[in-house]
Structure formats: structure tokens, C-alpha cells
């Protein structure tokens, strides 16, 4: 009676809503594409016959990414790709970092992955070893546009599992030394440059620590913190035979130098991820290590834009900067492998990589393309980020990176609060990390 009526109503509503949803699939963000496609299609159709299977039928690919800052630039590139390939339409879908992996995992479990999506060094093993990604070896071999030797070898290796390439590098990031030039000038100090050593860093930190300002920021953070020091000192985090490097004397020495900033009061004790940016953006610290991905945030911040600049990291035994990069991967079960490859091929071609750099989307992985990226930002000396690739060290990873990274954090914490010596904490970290590594398949 009343109930069945409301049930019927509910179902009816749902059905009508579904119909409304299915019919409309034009993306609001892609308002530029409808106008671009028709005008470009006549010229492009001549090159279209190359795609054999799709006989004029329109194919829609989803491209899943996690960084909304890149959406706009990638949309432009996708529009250009659509103009050249009128039978392919690209839907860019953005999901925030944490939910992105839940979404991808759900998709992988249920067999409904996006056609093309971003991959990361922490996750590649799980997806590649379970056969979730399309093996790109043959396609790369027969491609004119994509040659792996045009990409840094370290980045290629991340996405190579048992001899099969599962993603093509898209971009990379490095860590830079951000310094408050106003404070440096006021203190009469020379700005950091490539000649800087650890000693210069230490003495500058000492000179700048005054009036409630800390000279340097040495947080409990690996990629934007002590990893860089470890490799500059010739130490390691993970050895080639997958053992922890935390008990390496060189590693411990680097950690001691790093933690010393906190113990001597030249750096605040910082454990919280968000607090690091708060401190530097509010003038509480004069120098800090931050990755290139902070660039858009720092550029938008007037205080940072006015007072800060960036330089390459200071060296010890050698120069080093932790670098990492993501890759474009294709789902193993995509319905349109040829079209998906066409898109990835374009993203990985010199042209696509150049566009990505010009538009300032990210530092393109393609050798040489990064120089175009440098001119996309005039606020900071961002050339420093590109210069560091030559001696960059790939962010340490194994099959269970996320697990042992957190375990190492837990073990190292007491060193920063003074509850344990650095050596004790580091040896403890090595022990826990080795236990975790032993369980890797």
C-alpha cells in the first residue's frame, strides 16, 4: 500500500536518474575539445587509417590520475591528441592520492581498471606481479616514437618487472634546497650554490638561527630529508641484495649529522608532514629541503615567491638528490589496447613530453625536454631541479616499500626526541626493516 508505492517511486526515480546519467557523457572540463575536434579532423583523418581495427567507431578511454594540479595541462595535451585521432576520446578522471589507490585496487579486484593510469614506484610491484598491467615490450619495440633510451635508465627500471616494461616514464621529481634569500642577505651570507658542502650548510644554519627563527629544517622525513644526506655520504638505505642499509656506518654518520641539527637547536623537531610547509611558509625556518612537486604551491604563496629561492643540494663525499618519477601504464584487460597504447605513445613521444614540459605540467622524463620546463616558471631558479638529475638517486624501493618505510620511521623517532642515540635508533631500524624485507615474496 503506502510502502509498495514508495518502493515503486524509489525505483522509478532511480531508473530515470540512470537514464539521465547515461545519455550525457560530455565532460564539463573539456569544453575546448568539441570546438577543436571538428576543425582539425579533416587533416587528421588522412593519418587515421593507421588504426586498423577501429573502423570509424568512436572509442572512449579513461585516463586516471591523482594530481588535480596537472589536470588542466594534461587536458590540453589530450585535446591535441583527440584532434589528431578523431576516433579516440580521452576522459581524464582525477582521484585524490589516498583514494586513488583504493579505487585502483577495487578496480583491479573487480576487473574494471581504467584504460590508462598513473603508476608509482611504491605500487608497481603489486600490479606488475599480479598481471594487472599490459606488457608493453612488443609495442615499444615496434614504435617509432617511443624509445626507452630517451628516458633516464633509473626511471625505466622502476617500471620493469622480470624483463617486461609495464609503464613508460612520464615525469620525475628531485629535491631542492629552498632558502630564504632575504634572511641570507640580512645576515650577509652568500647564497647557496653548487659548490656548497655540508659544512657550508651547517655554518649557515648556525648563523641564521636567531630571534626565534631556525636556520634549517631537519624533519623526520625520508625523501625530503635524510635520504639525501645518506646518499651524499656514500651510505645506502637498501642494498642491491635487498638488505637494510640503516646499519651501514656511512648511513649512521649521515643520520648523526642530520639529527644533530635538531639536537643543537638549529632545527625544530618536526614529525608532522603538514607542519613542514607551515614552518617554511611562515618564516620560521631559513632553509629546508622540499621536492619539486611543491613548486605550484610555493609559487602561489606570496611570502615564498618574494623571499625564497631554490638551489641544488649541498654535497659531502658526492652530490646526490633523491629522485623518483611516475609512469603511464595500461590495464591488462582494457577493451581498447591499441587505442590506449596510441595515447601512451603520444604522451611518451618527444612531442608529448615537450608539450608537458612547456605547459609546466611536470618535469618531463624525456631527455632534454626538462629544459623546456625550466622556462615555465620565472619565480624561482628551478633549473636546479633539472641539474640534479645527473647525480640523482632513485628513491629506495622494494616490493613492500610502504611497510618498511613506516617501520623505519617508528624506529628513528626516538633519535629525534633524544630518547635514543642515533646509532641505537638506526640499528633498530635496520633490524625491523630486515625482518620486513625477509617476508617479501
Amino acid at each position: 500500500m503506502k510502502k509498495s508505492l514508495s518502493v515503486a517511486l524509489t525505483l522509478g526515480l532511480a531508473a530515470s536518474a540512470l537514464a539521465a546519467c547515461g545519455s550525457n557523457n560530455n565532460n564539463s572540463g573539456s569544453s575546448a575539445s568539441p570546438s577543436a575536434t571538428p576543425s582539425a579532423s579533416p587533416s587528421a583523418s588522412s593519418s587515421a587509417p593507421a588504426s586498423q581495427a577501429a573502423s570509424g567507431e568512436k572509442v572512449t578511454l579513461t585516463y586516471a590520475i591523482w594530481d588535480s594540479n596537472q589536470e588542466k595541462g594534461l587536458r590540453t595535451i589530450a585535446d591535441e591528441f583527440e584532434a589528431a585521432n578523431p576516433n579516440i576520446k580521452i576522459n581524464i578522471e582525477v582521484t585524490g592520492w589516498a583514494d586513488y589507490w583504493t579505487m585502483l585496487e577495487a578496480g583491479a579486484t573487480g576487473g574494471s581498471l581504467p584504460d590508462v593510469f598513473w603508476m608509482h614506484s611504491n605500487e608497481i610491484y603489486r600490479y606488475a606481479s599480479n598481471g594487472m598491467l599490459l606488457d608493453l615490450n612488443d609495442r615499444i619495440a615496434s614504435s617509432q616514437a617511443v624509445k626507452l633510451e630517451n628516458f633516464p635508465e633509473g626511471l625505466n627500471q622502476i617500471y620493469n618487472f622480470q624483463g617486461k616494461q609495464y609503464a613508460v616514464p612520464k615525469d620525475f621529481d628531485t629535491i631542492g634546497l629552498w632558502y630564504n634569500k632575504t634572511m641570507f642577505d640580512a645576515a650577509g651570507l652568500k647564497h647557496p650554490d653548487e659548490s656548497w658542502t655540508w659544512d657550508d650548510l651547517y655554518s649557515a644554519a648556525k648563523a641564521l638561527t636567531k630571534d626565534g627563527v631556525y636556520g634549517f629544517l631537519a624533519p623526520l622525513h625520508n625523501q625530503e630529508g635524510y635520504y639525501n644526506f645518506v646518499y651524499q655520504n656514500g651510505g645506502t638505505i637498501i642494498t642491491d641484495d635487498k638488505k637494510s642499509g640503516y646499519d651501514d656506518p656511512k648511513t649512521i654518520e649521515a643520520l648523526e649529522f642530520y639529527v644533530n641539527f635538531v639536537i643543537e637547536g638549529l632545527s625544530p623537531a618536526v614529525f608532522d608532514d603538514a607542519e613542514r610547509a607551515e614552518l617554511i611558509q611562515n618564516g620560521k625556518v631559513a632553509m629546508g629541503y622540499f621536492g619539486s612537486w611543491n613548486l605550484s604551491g610555493f609559487t602561489a604563496n606570496e611570502f615564498m615567491a618574494k623571499n625564497f629561492d631554490v638551489a641544488v643540494l649541498p654535497k659531502k663525499e658526492k652530490q646526490a638528490s633523491i629522485y623518483n618519477g611516475l609512469g603511464n601504464a595500461i590495464a591488462f584487460n582494457t577493451k581498447h589496447p591499441d587505442e590506449a597504447w596510441k595515447f601512451v605513445e603520444y604522451l611518451s613521444s618527444k612531442e608529448g613530453q615537450d608539450r608537458q614540459a612547456e605547459l609546466g605540467v611536470a618535469i618531463s622524463a624525456y631527455n632534454g625536454a626538462a629544459d623546456l620546463w625550466v622556462s615555465s616558471n620565472k619565480t624561482f631558479n628551478i633549473k636546479a631541479f633539472v641539474d640534479m638529475v645527473d647525480y640523482g638517486v632513485i628513491r629506495p624501493y622494494s616490493n613492500t616499500t610502504a611497510v618498511w618505510e613506516d617501520k623505519a620511521y617508528e624506529a628513528l623517532g626516538p633519535a629525534f626526541t633524544g630518547k635514543a642515540t642515533v646509532e641505537e635508533a638506526a640499528k633498530n631500524a635496520a633490524k625491523i626493516m630486515n625482518e620486513s624485507l625477509a617476508q617479501e615474496k
Binding site: M1, K2, K3, S6, V7, L9, T10, L13, A14, A17, L18, C21, G22, N24, N25, N26, N27, S28, G29, T62, A64, W66, D67, S68, N69, E71, N91, E93, V94, T95, G96, W97, D99, T102, M103, E105, A106, T109, G110, G111, S112, P114, A277, E278, Q281, N282, G283, K284, G291, W293, N294, S296, G297, A300, N301, E302, F303
Partner: protein, 276 residues
């Protein structure tokens, strides 16, 4: 007597005002931040309370980037369907659990309580697989799916039914009503406040649900307000002014609905118990 009654009145107001300031702060903050520049929004030293220039561009930018009519519609459809489902199904089950005797009652009620004890995160992937196997991703139905029935609502309305006097049903029985008629005509109107409260909560929880719509409806045309806005929070940096502007745009309809519905408490059924 009169004097002792008056004194606390000012005191009560004082307490309520202090509490109100604490409660409203994030909202005021949100509103103010939505007009600030990026720099002002993260500046703590000096701390900026009022924006130096009121940036309406934050709003126009958010409106330009998102298809708000569609987002409002998707959200509205999801909220409305979830509210209807939870009230109808919960009221039915709650009445049975509170007033009827039947085999398995305690067991099934135990099942209802059991559901509430489990962290919701464990449901996401299994429910995703169900929606996916139905081929219903990126639809309004997918948004409704986890809210089809409500253990919370069943338990809540059961408490309300249990608080009603037994004499009401006996009177109805004498008048010749069967169980269904007693339920719909007599008992249901008496738990209106409970249903309003359930409606408010269902709407609110549906509205705030972020992870589910984000994962199941990845297509931006099938997103809800909260899932679309979550995108603004990037992986590395957050544009707080735009995020807050978007949040204000999302919250205002919700707040208006609440203001309307909380009036139902005042005009509720408080006097109909007077039959006693």
C-alpha cells in the same frame, strides 16, 4: 522562586553563547578563508583573520571548473533516495522489532546491532564489486547502494517506538485495526521527531560520504558535491581558499534544509501524547 528562576536564565544564555562561539568557529573560518588569497590562508605569523581584499574570484573559479548544476542534482538525488529508503525500511523494521513478537526477533535485531559495530571501511571493496558486477558504476543507483537500508535508523526508530505507551495499540485493536493499519495510521505519526532526526542524519552522512562516491563514480558527471570537491585537495598542495569556497557552496543547501527541518522538532508531536 521567581527570582531563582530568572538568575540562571542569563547564566544559561552566557553558557550557550560561549558554546555557540566554539561551535561556529570552523564555519566562520571557512567563510573567511574562502575569500582570502592563498598566502593569507596558510599564514599563521602574522595570523590573518579577515582577508585584506575579499576575493570573489575564488567562487567564480570554482563555479567555472565544476559543473555545479549536475553536482547538485547528483547529490540531491542521492540524498533524497537514501533518506526515503532509510526512513521507509527502518520504520517498518523498527516497529516490528519494538512491538511485535515473532520467532527470530532477537536474532535479527542482533544482526542489526552487529552491522553498526563494524568499521565501514571493510564494506567499501565488497560493495564496489557488487555494484560493478551489476554494471551500475557511475550511476545514481551506485550512490544510493550502501544506503538502501539503515541499521542505524532501525535501531533509532525502535527506541522511539518502544517509548510509546502500550495503551495506544490496545485502543487501536479494539477499534478493529489490523497490525498494518495500527502501524501506519497510529504509531507512525507519533515517531515523527525520530523520523526527522533520522532524515537529517541520513542526509548528512550521505552528503559527507566522500570515499564511496569517489571510488564508485569516477566519471566527473556522476560525482557528488563532496567527491568532486575532494579533488581540489591535490596530492601535494592544497588551494585552501578555493577548497573552502567550494565547501561553502556545497554546504549552504544542506544548512538551509536543516534550518527548515529542525522546526519540525518544535511543531512535533509533543501534544499528541496528551490523549493519555
Amino acid at each position: 522562586m521567581v527570582r531563582t528562576n530568572r538568575m540562571p536564565r542569563y547564566f544559561v544564555h552566557l553558557l550557550l553563547v560561549v558554546g555557540a562561539i566554539l561551535m561556529i568557529m570552523p564555519f566562520v573560518w571557512m567563510l573567511l578563508t574562502s575569500f582570502k588569497s592563498v598566502t593569507e590562508s596558510t599564514s599563521m605569523n602574522p595570523f590573518v583573520f579577515f582577508p585584506s581584499a575579499w576575493k570573489w574570484e575564488n567562487y567564480s573559479e570554482v563555479l567555472r571548473q565544476n559543473n555545479f548544476p549536475r553536482l547538485y542534482w547528483n547529490t540531491f538525488a542521492m540524498v533524497a533516495l537514501r533518506v526515503v529508503c532509510s526512513i521507509v525500511f527502518s520504520a517498518m523494521a523498527a516497529y516490528a522489532f519494538a512491538r511485535l513478537k515473532f520467532p527470530g526477533r532477537n536474532f535479527f535485531f542482533g544482526l542489526v546491532l552487529f552491522q553498526m559495530m563494524v568499521p565501514t571501511q571493510i564494506f567499501i571493496i565488497p560493495q564496489y564489486l557488487m555494484v560493478d558486477s551489476l554494471g551500475m558504476r557511475n550511476t545514481i543507483f551506485a550512490l544510493l547502494f550502501p544506503g538502501l537500508v539503515s541499521a542505524f535508523g532501525t535501531f533509532l526508530l525502535r527506541q522511539f517506538f518502544m517509548g510509546l505507551p502500550k495503551e495506544l495499540e490496545e485502543a487501536a485493536k479494539l477499534d478493529g485495526c489490523n497490525i498494518g493499519q495500527t502501524f501506519v495510521r497510529i504509531m507512525l505519526p507519533l515517531v515523527r521527531s525520530g523520523m526527522v532526526a533520522l532524515g537529517i542524519f541520513t542526509a548528512l552522512f550521505a552528503f559527507k560520504d566522500l570515499m564511496w562516491p569517489m571510488i564508485v563514480n569516477t566519471n566527473s558527471n556522476a560525482a557528488t558535491l563532496s567527491s568532486a570537491l575532494a579533488k581540489i585537495q591535490g596530492a601535494y598542495s592544497v588551494d585552501y581558499p578555493e577548497l573552502m569556497a567550494a565547501s561553502v557552496l556545497a554546504i549552504v543547501p544542506m544548512l538551509i534544509l536543516y534550518v527548515i527541518f529542525q522546526k519540525q522538532f518544535i511543531e512535533g508531536v509533543a501534544t499528541s501524547g496528551g490523549k493519555l
